[in-house]
């Protein structure tokens, strides 16, 4: 048997083919991957947009006029601007009031005078 005939036999040999069920499973996974990747990209884009919106607010809470508790504050220039109807007004900042510390809540009267021998 010469090389040409042997190579022809090899080329014409019934090499194992992918089973139909394996092919279907792989098809399903590839198709699902495309959808999953797009869904993942959309989720990332939505998360980025949300982050930008929150970050753009600069830590302030935005509330329609009249729906948020009115803070006690003195008259300022922004009050005149905010009095226009259908405007969003910055009412308060989550950082506007610092929480009292333990030191401030300590009763100074409970401390005695520092004495020396």
């Amino acid at each position: 048997m010469n090389d040409q005939r042997l190579e022809a036999m090899l080329d014409g040999h019934a090499w194992p083919d992918m089973p139909v069920d394996a092919h279907e499973r792989l098809r399903g996974r590839v198709a699902a991957y495309g959808r999953t990747a797009r869904s993942r990209r959309l989720s990332i884009a939505a998360a980025l947009l949300l982050t930008l919106l929150i970050g753009g607010a600069g830590g302030y809470i935005l509330a329609p006029r009249g729906t948020a508790p009115q803070p006690q504050h003195t008259h300022s220039a922004t009050d005149d601007v905010a009095s226009a109807p259908n405007r969003l007004v910055i009412r308060a900042s989550v950082f506007s009031e610092s929480r009292p510390t333990l030191v401030r809540r300590t009763d100074p009267g409970a401390w005695g005078a520092i004495t020396t021998n």
Partner: protein, 164 residues
């Protein structure tokens, strides 16, 4: 609203899978020796391509074979597994009548020789492409192919001789 369609790269790989599944399967089966691992290997190759955003037309015809080989070698090294010596090329009922002994002769080849024969005749790669896939010098690949043909010819001749 119907189900979302796969993205363009995934659609391109679906087409490639339909066209090249036989070649990918033959080589994956040669590497892994069993169908579940072969399926996993083809899936890993496809996933690698999709994750990298590589379309079938972006890479050479031989590139998926290289990816499968690298993935398989990495796994084999990690798991320290010995390759099974079970017959890798299982004959099917669709075998042409003139090749009943060819599968047995192929199983008698060394791993390197069988890899070259599989890539050339089952996957349709050239010796140069096989050289790139296996990261082996072209002369070595050509030598393995020549010796594989010699071994096959001798094996087939001996089968003919002992046949009553």
């Amino acid at each position: 609203m119907g189900p979302a369609r796969p993205n363009p790269i995934a659609r391109a790989w679906l087409t490639a899978l339909a066209e090249r599944r036989g070649a990918w399967w033959s080589y994956a089966l040669h590497l892994t020796s069993n169908e579940p691992d072969a399926e996993d290997l083809v899936q890993t190759m496809l996933t690698t391509m999709l994750e990298r955003g590589i379309a079938p037309d972006d890479v050479a015809h031989a590139y998926p074979f290289r990816v499968m080989r690298n993935v398989h070698l990495t796994r084999a090294r990690r798991e320290h597994t010995q390759r099974a010596h079970a017959p890798r090329l299982v004959r099917t009922s669709d075998d042409p009548p003139d090749t009943p002994d060819l599968a047995r002769a192929l199983d008698a080849l060394t791993d390197e020789q069988r890899e070259v024969i599989t890539l050339k005749h089952a996957c349709g790669l050239t010796l140069e492409q096989i050289s790139r896939v296996t990261d082996t010098p072209l002369g070595t690949v050509a030598g393995r192919h020549r010796r594989a043909l010699e071994a096959l010819r001798a094996r087939l001749a001996s089968i003919e001789e002992i046949r009553p």
